[in-house]
Each structure stands twice: as C-alpha cells, then as structure tokens.
C-alpha cells in the first residue's frame, strides 16, 4: 500500500473546491482524508454535515485521540489546530493562530509529514493567504506526494501560488483532474 493518508488545505473558495473533489471520488474510496478549511471560529459545522450527505463518504469532525480509519474524511474542528500523532491518532490544540488561522493548514501538514513521510499526499486548494505553503514544502522534503490546485482555475489563486513559490509541486491540476488522480491512487493502493 503506497498511500496511508491524504491531507488537504483550503481557504476562501474552498468549500466549493472541496465539495467538487469529494463528490467526484469513487464510491468505496478508502484512503483516509484529513482536511483543514478555514472557517469562522464560531462555525456550527453545518457545512460538514452537508458534505456528509453529498459526498456519500463518512465525513466527520476530528475528535481528540481518535484513530484515523480507512474510508473516513476528517475535518479540523473550528478554532482548534489539528495534529497527527505517530500512533495515527489526532491531537487538538488551542495554540496561537498560525498565519492568522486556527485551524492552520501548516500545523496539520507538518505534523502529518513527520508521521507518514513518503506514504502521504498533500493538496493545497484555493485561498487568499499563504497558509499551507510551508507545510506542503515539508511534505515534499520528507518524500510525500504534493498537489497544488492550478492557480488559473482557483477562485483565489494566492494560496496555490504561495505554495508553488516555495517548492515545485509534483502535480498542478484542476479540481477535476485532482479527483481523477486521487481515484487512481486509491485504485492502485
């Protein structure tokens, strides 16, 4: 098995981007997905429930100490950073904002890279800030596969561009192609 986890980060415009990719995944998609979407600290999680219905996969907020399981999609809770432990469980913290964000994409990506190294995929989607760039670079350094949404196709190109300015990504793709690639990864696994 090549890939054990896929991590995703998105900011402004991300709800549409994530919905588009998740709904295009094959029915029994099994690689666990962990994602950070910048939302208001007071978000009620309604958008997670809507994804759960649309995506046909099990989408849930990540709980502390929860073990990462196949076939699940985990979303960082609003106002907490989400980290991954060596034993494949989640940790939450309320540490200061990173890149003005909590949850921060960098925080998730850096901790995931340390654990999964070359057995993971990191994806940066649309956004109007630079969160996730350092994290994606870290994933690349430790042998993971990196994907950046094609800035030309992103609602806000700044975040993909910020990531690409730090590192050459393995793939620069539209949302449609990202979903295709992930389905291929899952099939080959």
């Amino acid at each position: 098995m090549k890939y054990e986890v896929i991590v995703m980060g998105a900011s402004s415009g991300g709800l549409n981007a994530i919905r588009s990719v998740l709904t295009s995944l094959s029915e029994n998609f099994s690689i666990p997905i962990v994602l950070v979407q910048h939302v208001s600290p007071r978000s009620d999680g309604q958008w997670i429930r809507s994804l759960d219905i649309i995506a046909g996969l099990n989408v849930k907020e990540a709980d502390e100490k929860e073990t990462i399981e196949k076939g699940n999609i985990y979303v960082a809770p609003p106002n907490y950073h989400l980290l991954i432990e060596t034993n494949r469980t989640f940790s939450l913290t309320i540490d200061s904002r990173v890149n003005f964000a909590r949850p921060s994409i960098d925080v998730l990506f850096e901790s995931a890279a340390d654990v999964y190294r070359d057995k993971m995929v990191g994806i940066i989607f649309t956004g109007a800030n630079s969160d996730g760039a350092i994290g994606l670079k870290r994933i690349k350094e430790l042998g993971g596969t990196t994907i950046v949404q094609d800035p030309n196709s992103a609602e806000s190109p700044y975040m993909p561009e910020a990531a690409l300015s730090l590192m050459p990504a393995d793939y620069i793709l539209t949302l449609e192609k990202i979903a295709e690639l992930l389905n291929k990864f899952d099939k080959d696994n």
Partner: protein, 274 residues
C-alpha cells in the same frame, strides 16, 4: 531522516531531563504538540539538535525556564465560547444559588481570563460575595500576569464581543480601566480570587469544590494522564458538583463517565452523581 527532523529519542531524553532537573513532568503530553513547541524554540535558539537543548536545560537555568514557559499552555480568552457561558448561566448558576458558600477551581488558569470571566458572571448573578475562586497554574510567570490582571488593549474588542454573546447583563467596559495600550481588570473582581501555584500533573487534591473549570488543557495530555487528572477532579468535587471541559473534551476514556450526568452535552458540562 533529514537534519530538521527531530528524533523521538532525543525528545524523550529532554523531557526526562526537565523532569529530573526542574520537577515539571511533560512526559505524558501529546508528542505532536511537544514536537511543535520544541521545533519553534530550536529555530529561535540557534541550537542544532534537541540534545543540545538537553545540555542547556541541565547547565543553564535561564534556558530551562524559557523551555518550561514554551511547553506550558498559555492561550486563553475571556468568555471563550460564549455559548458555554450562556449555558453556565442557565444550567449551573441555579444550582450554585442553592449553596450558602461556593468554591470554584480553575485548574490550569493560565493568564486568568476565565477566572475573571467567572468573577464577572458571579457578580451579575449576585453570587460573588459568597464565592471563592481558586485559580491555579504551574507556570509562575503566567500566574503573576493573571494576578496583575493587565491585558493588551487589542484584545478588548474580541472580549467585549464574547461577553455580549454570552448573555452579559452589563457593559463589558464596566469591568476594566483602559490606559495607553493596556487595560486592567477592576480590582474588586480580584477580592475573592486566590491565585495559587498548583501542578495538576504532579500535585494532589488541595480543596473540595463545587465547580471545576479545566477547559482545553486535557487535550494536550495522553490518555493515561487524562485519566489521572479526571480522578483528581472527581475526588475534588463535592457530590452534585459540576465539571466544565472544553468543547472537544469529554470523559470518553475513563470509567468515571458513569459517575457523572450530562448537564449540557454540547458545552461539555457534567454533574457528579450523588
């Protein structure tokens, strides 16, 4: 392994050194959290490896205390999660009104924002005069800050918002005096707050209390340590006492969950059974 990755062996040895040298025990804290804090200190300090940090801990007292501060949890807010405070007013205050004297413990109070929030809430509910708040932390530096009650002005806007959304009855500005770039909490709010150095990881029960607040501290601990702390809390609460945890915390991993009723499932407010 790249040069910037940190060996888990080195981290374990460093935490052991801190424990033996300073008596503070971080060995049962979440590893991802510790790793993140140490990486940031490593980058700032100019040291190359965690082993070098260990040497510094053993031979440089100043560095050891810097590291202790790095590893302690210092992020807090006034009226953080306004819905929680709303629930306190509705579900917990009526219980507290039945007691002639009320003892409250803020465990891991950090810079004291939650203790001040509770003091304000108690005052508005007419309970402050018969209440005693014990606000404890192991980090003396942050405890001194809490005691001073002086905060940065740029926090006022968020705190005022939180206060209003929590169902505050007055104007938040009634509770502080603003001065240049700082604001200071009203002195009368401190009258019944006792600030004390207590380490919940290594110290034992110190009082019997009606309410315990420990919000967003346990998430930093591994399961075994969480269990120990839950036992400490259980033993510290009177029968019918109230335990308040953070929004993503619970009693999942401990049999003690059967010894509490849920007063508010979403806001993580629990009542110890009689």
């Amino acid at each position: 392994m790249t040069s910037i990755s940190i060996s888990e062996i080195e981290i374990a040895l460093l935490l052991e050194a801190i424990y033996q040298k300073c008596g503070y025990d971080f060995r049962q804290y979440s590893e991802a959290h510790i790793k993140r804090r140490l990486s940031s200190r490593l980058a700032i300090s100019g040291l190359k490896t965690v082993s070098e940090m260990q040497f510094q801990v053993l031979h440089n007292e100043q560095f050891a205390y810097t590291l202790l501060h790095d590893l302690s949890i210092t992020v807090t807010e006034m009226f953080r999660d306004p819905e929680f405070y709303k629930s306190l007013r509705q579900n917990v205050i009526p219980i507290l009104k039945t007691y002639p004297f009320i003892k409250i413990w803020h465990a891991g109070c950090s810079s004291g924002e939650e203790a001040y929030s509770m003091a304000i809430l108690l005052r508005e509910e007419g309970l402050y005069e018969r209440s005693m708040i014990y606000a404890t932390d192991f980090n003396q530096k942050i405890l001194d800050k809490a005691k001073a009650g002086v905060f940065q002005n740029d926090l006022i806007k968020d705190y005022t918002n939180n206060y209003q959304m929590s169902g505050g009855l007055e104007s938040f500005s009634d509770y502080y005096t603003s001065n240049y770039n700082m604001f200071i909490m009203d002195q009368s709010l401190k009258k019944n707050i006792v600030w004390a150095n207590h380490n919940m990881v290594t110290d034992s029960v110190f009082a019997e209390v009606h309410v315990i607040f420990c919000r967003n501290v346990l998430i930093y601990f591994k399961k075994n340590l969480q269990e120990n702390i839950h036992l400490l809390f259980y033993e510290s609460l009177i029968n019918g006492g109230v335990l308040c945890l953070g929004s993503k915390e619970g009693l999942y991993f401990t049999d003690l969950k059967y010894k509490y009723d849920e007063l508010d499932k979403k806001q993580k407010i629990f009542k110890k059974k009689y």
